[in-house]
């Protein structure tokens, strides 16, 4: 599946763009593919055991992935994944 990541500014400079394409059957696979292509993102999207980074929130087509299956959530062609800092609001 081909999906689009929308990255926050703090990560966009590491990927060269705020919008990047990736491939994967699950969000986990898409994140891994992204970090292979953009090695500077390694460790900045995931935590030590591969879980979502503790200071980031991931949304799949406007839905917080914590309400879905987290990184195991299956993807469909054309999905939009928005990544934002968790250090916001309140």
């Amino acid at each position: 599946m081909q999906v689009t990541f929308h990255l926050p500014k703090v990560l966009a400079s590491l990927a060269g763009s705020a919008q990047v394409q990736a491939r994967g059957a699950t969000l986990q696979e898409a994140v891994e593919e992204l970090t292979v292509r953009f090695p500077r993102l390694a460790g900045r999207l995931t935590g030590p055991t591969g879980e979502p980074h503790e200071y980031l929130l991931f949304y799949l087509n406007d839905e917080d992935i914590r309400f879905l299956e987290g990184f195991d959530t299956p993807l469909r062609d054309g999905d939009e994944i928005t990544v934002v800092s968790a250090v916001a609001g309140g």
């Binding site: 929308h6 926050p8 500014k9 703090v10 966009a12 705020a18 900045r44 980074h53 200071y55 980031l56 929130l57 949304y59 406007d62 917080d64 914590r66 309400f67 928005t82 934002v84 800092s85 968790a86 250090v87 916001a88 609001g89 309140g90």
Partner: protein
Amino acid sequence: MSSHVSHRRGVHPLFHSSDAACVGPQPGGPANTSLRPLTCSACGTLHPPAPTAVCPECLGPLEPSYPPDRPLPSTTALSRRPASLWRYLEWLPFEEEPQLSRNTGFTPLIEAPILAAALGVRRAWIKNDALCFPSLSFKDRVVATAINAARQLGLDTVGCASTGNLANAVAAHAAREGLSAWIFVPHDLEGGKLVATAVFGAKMVRVRGTYDDVNRLCSQVADHFGWGIVNVNLRAYYAEGSKTMAWEIAEQLGWRFPDAVVAPMAGGSLVTRLAKGFREVKEAGFTGDPLPRLYGAQAAGCAPIVEALHRGDGRIRPTIPRTLAKSLAIGSPADGAQAVRALRESGGWAAAVDDLALVGGIQLLARTTGIFTETAGGVTVAAALALARQGHLKLTDEVVLCITGHGLKTVEAVRSGLEEAPLIAPRLQEVEALITTT
């Protein structure tokens, strides 16, 4: 006051020009700022002042950095300063006294003996931020620090994601300082809060979705437009305003601490900053009292912090808010885990109350203290009652309840539960008839 602080202006001496380049864009630049630098609370990296709340190294939250050897005032010197939150300047993220939002803070601390009896505690006090200026909620504190940071960073547009009180505060502060304001709120906010935002001429946008949807959008807005979104990219400066409530409580009690403090929780920032503020008062040597136990209050329809504390794992599980207390309706609280830690480390606890109880809390506060609070205050009072019944607040305790917003903002919450006023002709016998039937 300024005699205690440096008068130096310019690029912060801790940084060379190459250091500044490692932080994101700085519209207008920090070239003429008295803002304190920022330190990552996760990895400890130091960064120059900037409109960013996130460490570029590890994505952790940034906090203002205070030199431990800075000159500090005595309690006598503090007592001579104007009655605003700026009297605690040395503990705020500015090297010089800011010029905007000068009259915010130093709200009344009012003893509430009838409420103390209802709670079954020795003494009760209301920290009445329903009278915070200019917009009648504690959010004026955080906007006072954030808007000064925005000005010093050269930003001409500010904004926020808000459940209501922050919308009012940003709109009011921006209006009087001549800044443009973009306010983003959930679509179903109370009418009073919409009016009390729009009246200031701010550009208010209602977003289909919950506060958490609005918050996500505002993170993207801050990145895309470079505006100063007070609770997003100005959050490091914004959050420090909250702790002045702790400073004021200590000073207004005669530089001593109460046994316990009860505060509402939405994003969880307030209880973490109360903890920080009380800790700073103690570190300054202004009291030898033990730190107060902190208690958090949430509505049962949106209680991710209370649930994380009660479960014991401290991990926030996001929730879809379903409560009358829209000002506390944050299902994914940014400071949730830190709030759990602050409550636990203080020896306190937390309670969640249903909507019926929160309306009862609003009425109990009104009828025992003469203070009309909005839904968050109702949650705080009802949670204090629950905590007292559970034995967490004790007969020997002196307790402060943090009332964070004015009741006229959410009249819908209590209107239906109040007796309708009788309608009579202007005749004395009709009053006599009413007295007979009452």
